[in-house]
């Protein structure tokens, strides 16, 4: 679906898509390394399976649509979608869930809307949302971090769990994520301070989650430095989330989590720097990006705090994706020389 945006790129030496996508992949390296350290082989299996499935589906979709397969496969966009999606999945998830998710990401969210550059929704988040809505049980089985459980699954064991050869002892290896733990704790009447005093909570959030979030932050800062993404979206997402969280926390710090906990839990950092900044589905005007990002931050807090799903970044991003055409329409920057009296929609 093509929406009319009146911004044209006047830069001649704009880097091509594959260059940008490669930089996004480089920026994910610290987070992937951190996840591997904490969660073991399951993370790597997710990534490899997702990339293979995504390339296969992309190839099939291009072939069916009669488009040249090779140049589009080489633009790395399918690989980035696959990697971002894989990083949102719990490790050791069954292989067919990855395939179903990527079917919705590549075929439904991307190619049914016209392929790269035309998708109104972020494909990776569509995939995540489809899976979390359809298979909530499988999608919330997060194995505990290695440093918490002390059990390191071998590669062959991980593979046989993923491919259904071996049933994992889920009760033994899964742990509630920090977000889940805080939510259920608060429901059962514990105070927030008591919950985070538990030994697997670090100074920001859960031990594994805070380091992963810091790694995403590092990669995100590199992306801003390399001018792959603009600062407006990530900063406004984080500010929007932290602002609402701080307000609620000041109202009652025993039943609302601290802003720092929100910033470094779940997929906040991944969402702020890598998901919300997707150039196709995000707002394109500088002021629009601030509105878009801050609204995502707001919805992350609202859905996370009063919703029932493990995390809310996907839903927040998808809601705001829907609003992007309207945001862009009302935030067109003034053209140089405009008298300022032009009325919107009468151009």
């Amino acid at each position: 679906m093509q929406f009319d945006t009146r911004i044209t790129s006047l830069v001649n030496d704009a880097p091509d898509i594959s260059q940008l996508m490669k930089q996004v992949l480089y920026a994910l390296i610290p987070a992937v390394a951190t996840l591997l350290y904490f969660y073991g082989w399951g993370v790597l299996i997710n990534l490899v399976l997702a990339v293979v499935f995504a390339l296969a589906l992309e190839g099939i979709a291009l072939w069916v649509r009669g488009k040249p397969v090779k140049p589009f496969l080489k633009d790395f966009s399918a690989i980035v979608t696959a990697c971002l999606f894989a990083l949102t999945l719990p490790p050791l998830i069954s292989w067919w869930l990855i395939l179903v998710g990527l079917f919705f990401a590549i075929i439904v969210a991307k190619h049914l809307y016209g392929g790269i550059g035309y998708n109104p929704f972020n494909p990776a988040m569509i995939a995540y949302a489809v899976l979390i809505v359809s298979f909530p049980l499988q999608m919330s089985q997060w194995p505990g971090a290695y440093s918490v459980t002390g059990e390191w699954l071998s590669l062959s064991d991980s593979l046989s769990i993923v491919f259904g050869q071996m049933d994992a002892d889920w009760d033994a290896i899964t742990r509630a994520t920090p977000l889940d733990e805080v939510r259920t704790g608060l429901i059962t009447g514990q105070s927030y301070q008591d919950i985070v005093a538990g030994d697997h909570f670090g100074w920001l959030s859960g031990v594994a989650w805070q380091w992963t979030s810091l790694a995403y932050l590092l990669g995100g800062l590199y992306l801003i430095k390399a001018r792959v993404i603009s600062w407006q979206i990530p900063v406004s997402v984080l500010a929007g989330l932290a602002g609402v969280a701080a307000l609620m926390w000041l109202v009652d710090s025993s039943i609302y989590a601290s802003p720092l906990f929100h910033l470094f839990s779940g997929a906040t950092m991944l969402g702020a720097f890598f998901i919300a900044t997707d150039p196709v589905s995000a707002s394109t005007t500088p002021f629009g990006q601030l509105v878009y990002g801050a609204s995502i931050g707001f919805f992350i807090y609202v859905i996370r705090t009063w919703g029932v799903y493990p995390d809310s970044v996907a839903f927040a991003v998808l809601i705001m994706n829907m609003a992007v055409p309207m945001i862009d329409y009302y935030t067109q920057p003034k053209v140089f020389g405009d008298s300022g009296r032009a009325v919107h929609g009468k151009r």
């Binding site: 179903v100 439904v108 489809v130 809505v133 359809s134 298979f135 499988q138």
Partner: protein, 242 residues
């Protein structure tokens, strides 16, 4: 009227001008109740009966109703019919009535019905109007059952589950287990997004089929034309050669 083209009415109702696929009317019940095939069948039948009676009565009384008040008149006729259908279903298909709930009374607001009253029944004789109502209703019914069946198979791996709420206990055996019991169920298909995706896919499929038929028809016409030209040449050429 002798010049009524029944073939055209039938083709329009079932395919060319299908209420759900082409006119995109009555989407609210269409999307809301089709989470399984039996619900689709139930609502489809109720809509079919309503269409039949409303088209018939609107056509019957079309000469006595002035243009200015025709819309309120249609609404009253349709509402009366729906009330009858609603009460009948509540009496004889009580379980199904419970499942479909508010969507039975809401048939009043199904714009497919008032659209047929306005576009067809108010301008045609009774018999063609009834045929039109039946065919439109049938097209809608088939779509509801197909969409419901599709969503049910993908969503829970069964087909015609709960058939007994409609046909009584004798229909227990009608339920089919399409996938085995281990099938985890693709919940999205049963939820509202699945209805939109499913309807979109069915419409896309219809458009593909129409496209194919159209290209075939054009090819055939060209062939016939060429054959006719060739034939006329031969005919024209025969005397010359003799």
């Amino acid at each position: 009227m002798s010049d009524v083209n029944y073939k055209q009415i039938i083709a329009d109702g079932l395919w060319n001008n299908n209420a759900g696929l082409v006119q995109l009317l009555g989407l609210c019940p269409l999307l809301a109740v089709t989470n399984n095939a039996v619900n689709g069948l139930g609502l489809g039948l109720a809509t079919l009966v309503t269409l039949l009676i409303s088209n018939g009565s609107v056509s019957f009384s079309r000469h006595w109703v002035s243009r200015e008040i025709r819309i309120p008149f249609y609404v009253m006729v349709i509402a009366a019919n729906v009330t009858v259908v609603d009460l009948l279903m509540n009496a004889y298909l009580h379980n199904l009535h419970n499942v479909l709930g508010i969507f039975i009374p809401l048939i009043v607001t199904n714009c497919a019905i008032i659209a047929r009253a306005e576009a067809f029944a108010s301008k045609n004789e009774i018999i063609p109007s009834i045929v039109d109502g039946f065919m439109m209703g049938l097209g809608f019914l088939v779509l509801l059952v197909v969409l419901g069946g599709m969503r049910e198979v993908i969503g829970s791996g069964t087909l015609f589950a709960n058939a007994s709420v409609m046909f009584g206990d004798a229909a227990q055996g009608l339920t089919m287990q399409v996938f085995d019991k281990d099938y985890p169920g693709f919940l999205l298909a049963i939820l509202p997004p699945g209805a939109f995706l499913g309807l979109g896919l069915i419409i896309a499929l219809k458009n593909i089929i129409d496209d194919r038929l159209e290209t075939k028809r054009i090819a055939k016409r060209q062939q016939e034309k060429a054959a006719a030209e060739a034939a006329s040449k031969v005919i024209g050429g025969v005397p010359a050669s003799e």
